[in-house]
């Protein structure tokens, strides 16, 4: 994942307002087909960072490369590869969904010919084909959010940057949005995602950076970040058969640091990488009992976040 080939990368990004350092030495790199989460408490510098990445704000230091194109040197070429979904619903309420999409299509320089077809594709993608000709002002919050995202997809960007895309959205629309994003990533798009909703980031992103006081304090896969708190997974098993014998076998499995019987048929184990241990756990009890239910409770990002920033995401 060299910076040259990354869909979006930045290095040494910095921005200060007078004495206040808003962003300091931020670097990240996102490859095509990768979803990257940016987490941070309010005022940590998320929005400032994103503003610099999409070319709204000139950084004091550092470079931004979009698909290898320097944003500062060739802003128009670089911007054409970015799809940016702002936190607010930046759409004209007086116009219909379709007209809003047409506006952005034209703004991004899509040729008139073929624009209608592309708009129809995007409408289909965001599931609004039926409601495309209603006025945007009359849409539900979730529908507006979907058009807001659709407007950034028209020009087939290499990178999609989303700033809190699901604020004020009903669960159904939220699911539709997240499903859609996963499809886009699976199709090779790079994604930069910020959200207050930890579970969204955990679900969508395979790599996460935690930003605090303008600096990236941790960066890695979800598991790498979680292991920073040094926690092991809790594995809960429900067994059918000779539970006592099975329990002894489980306890001996390598990686299990602790084991306890929590009921007549249930066992709780503490294990590093518990999820990956599951097959060996199931094999271990063979001949004595069968596993009828499992639950792996991992220490989550929320705990990591709290550990690293001293705040929760939603305060």
């Amino acid at each position: 994942m060299a910076a040259m080939t990354a869909a979006l990368s930045c290095l040494g990004l910095g921005k200060r307002y007078g004495d206040l350092v808003a962003v300091d030495d931020v670097g990240l790199s996102i490859a095509g087909g990768q979803a990257y989460g940016l987490l941070g408490p309010n005022g940590a510098g998320k929005t400032t960072t994103i503003s610099m990445l999409v070319g709204l704000l000139r950084p004091d230091a550092g470079t931004v490369l979009v698909g290898g194109v320097d944003l500062a040197r060739e802003p128009l070429r670089a911007k054409a590869r970015i799809g940016y979904v702002p936190q607010e619903i930046a759409l004209y309420p007086e116009l219909t969904g379709r007209e809003n999409l047409r506006f952005f299509g034209r703004l991004f320089g899509l040729p008139r010919r073929g624009l209608a077809a592309r708009i129809a594709e995007v409408l289909d993608l965001i599931g609004l084909t039926d409601r495309a000709d209603g006025k945007l002002g009359a849409y539900s919050g979730g529908m507006k959010r979907r058009v807001n995202i659709g407007a950034a997809l028209l020009h087939r960007p290499q990178v999609l940057i989303l700033d809190e895309p699901t604020v004020g959205v009903d669960p159904q629309s939220r699911k539709a949005i997240l499903d859609g994003l996963e499809h886009l990533v699976a199709d090779g798009m790079a994604l930069l995602y910020t959200s207050h909703y930890m579970e969204e980031v955990e679900r969508v992103c395979d790599r996460v950076a935690i930003i605090d006081h303008g600096r990236i304090v941790a960066d890695g896969t979800r598991r790498e970040l979680v292991s920073l708190v040094g926690g092991a997974d809790t594995v809960e098993l429900v067994l059918d058969g000779d539970v006592g014998a099975a329990f002894e076998k489980l306890r001996a499995v390598e990686g299990v640091s602790e084991a306890a019987r929590t009921g007549d048929t249930s066992v709780r184990l503490l294990a590093d990488g518990g999820r990956y241990l599951l097959p060996s756990l199931i094999t271990a009890v063979e001949g004595h009992a069968t596993v009828t239910a499992t639950q792996v409770v991992e220490p989550d990002l929320e705990a990591t976040f709290l550990h690293l920033t001293g705040t929760t995401l939603r305060d």
């Binding site: 503003s51 999409v54 070319g55 709204l56 704000l57 000139r58 802003p75 128009l76 070429r77 911007k79 054409a80 970015i82 940016y84 702002p86 607010e88 619903i89 930046a90 759409l91 004209y92 309420p93 007086e94 116009l95 007209e99 506006f103 952005f104 034209r106 703004l107 991004f108 320089g109 006025k135």
Partner: protein
């Protein structure tokens, strides 16, 4: 940029109230205010005339007054009837012609547009009769008989007939009344007010984050700013063009030299655009724009003579009015409505308006650019 303009125009076209104010209100205003200031061009100014004598001067004067296109002569018997008619407003003016006298009594009220207009028309008629009298006297003094002198004058009148007709037209054009005054007045008034109201859309664009988002597209910053400015300018121009065309077709207003009118209206639209962008930049909430813009437009319109003729307001007010674009626009448009004037006649006014436009546009675009984060 074209995309921005198209989207903005489409937005404005969705705004029903805005459209009503653009398309209907100016004409309602032109119609009512025009009628108040001198009636529709088809209806004439009623002038009560008491003519006791039947001498040549009286007859000539009556003929002249009856022939005047703007006057409706109502013969009356008593001077008091004329006075009370003028006072109550049923007569625009009254004229008392004493037999054989060299003095005529003209009865008008001072602070009344139609009175002023009637006075202008009566003055014109009297001047023509006086000129005939003077010419006849001159011919007789030169040794001609009364009949021959009358013949000379008739001949001279016939030859100068065309000039005479032009003179009449100039008379009513130089003292604009009715629609000839209210049409340009309302053009300026509404072009400005509606531009200010449109500023709300600009504030809304900023609040929604549309501008910031547009700046993330592969578009130059100045294209985005220009797109916003051109959208407002087109609205102002459309408003002005609509008023010019409809008032010319429906109310028979003659605007004068098309090039001159286009220049004045174009520059004024630029001024209105600059003011709109400035307002749109300085205000925080889109609700403030309709609350501040139109009242400001009305006040400037009052000062500039867009609501009532400036002849009826004090000098100080008129001087104050010339600090703002409306007064200059009115000066230029009224001047152009006079026959025989063209672009050259309004260059000073155009210069002042252009300077105002440049200043406003420059200030507003700089501020606008600064307030849009980038």
């Amino acid at each position: 940029m074209a995309a921005l303009v198209a989207a903005n125009l489409r937005r404005h076209s969705r705004d029903r109230t805005g459209l009503f104010f653009m398309v209907v209100m100016p004409f309602v205003s032109i119609l009512f205010v025009g009628m108040a200031f001198g009636g529709a061009s088809s209806s004439r100014l009623p002038v009560g005339v008491v003519a006791a004598g039947s001498d040549a001067v009286t007859a000539a004067l009556l003929t002249e007054l009856r022939a005047h296109p703007d006057l409706e002569v109502r013969p009356m018997s008593a001077a008091d009837d004329v006075r009370s008619g003028v006072r109550s407003g049923s007569l625009a003016a009254g004229l008392i012609i004493a037999p054989g006298a060299v003095r005529l009594d003209l009865v008008v009220t001072q602070a009344n547009g139609s009175g002023l207009a009637a006075r202008g028309a009566v003055d014109g008629a009297v001047a023509k009769v006086a000129a005939v009298q003077e010419a006849t006297r001159a011919a007789m003094a030169a040794g001609a008989t009364a009949e021959r002198a009358a013949g000379y004058v008739r001949q001279a009148q016939a030859e100068s007939g065309r000039v005479g007709v032009t003179g009449t037209a100039t008379g009513s054009g130089g003292d604009p009344r009715g629609f000839a005054y209210t049409a340009p007045a309302n053009l300026l008034l509404f072009t400005f007010i509606n531009s200010m109201a449109v500023a709300a859309a600009l504030v809304e664009s900023r609040r929604l984050g549309m501008l910031q988002r547009a700046l993330t597209a592969p578009v130059r910053r100045r294209s985005v700013l220009l797109g916003e400015a051109v959208s407002r300018l087109l609205v102002a121009l459309a408003q002005a063009a609509l008023i010019v065309v409809v008032s010319a077709l429906v109310f028979g207003v003659s605007w004068g030299d098309p090039v001159g009118v286009a220049a004045v209206v174009g520059v004024f639209a630029l001024v209105a655009t600059g003011a709109a962008i400035l307002t749109g930049t300085l205000l925080r909430s889109p609700d403030q724009a309709p609350a501040i813009g139109p009242p400001l437009g009305v006040v400037l319109g009052m000062l500039g003579g867009c609501l009532w003729p400036r002849e009826s307001s004090p000098e100080v007010l008129n001087a104050l009015g010339h600090l703002f674009p409306h007064a200059w626009g009115m000066d230029a448009l009224l001047r152009l409505a006079e026959p025989g004037t063209g672009l050259g006649a309004v260059l000073p006014q155009l210069g002042v308006l252009a300077a105002m436009a440049a200043l406003l546009l420059f200030t507003s675009l700089v501020l606008f650019s600064r307030r849009t984060p980038a």
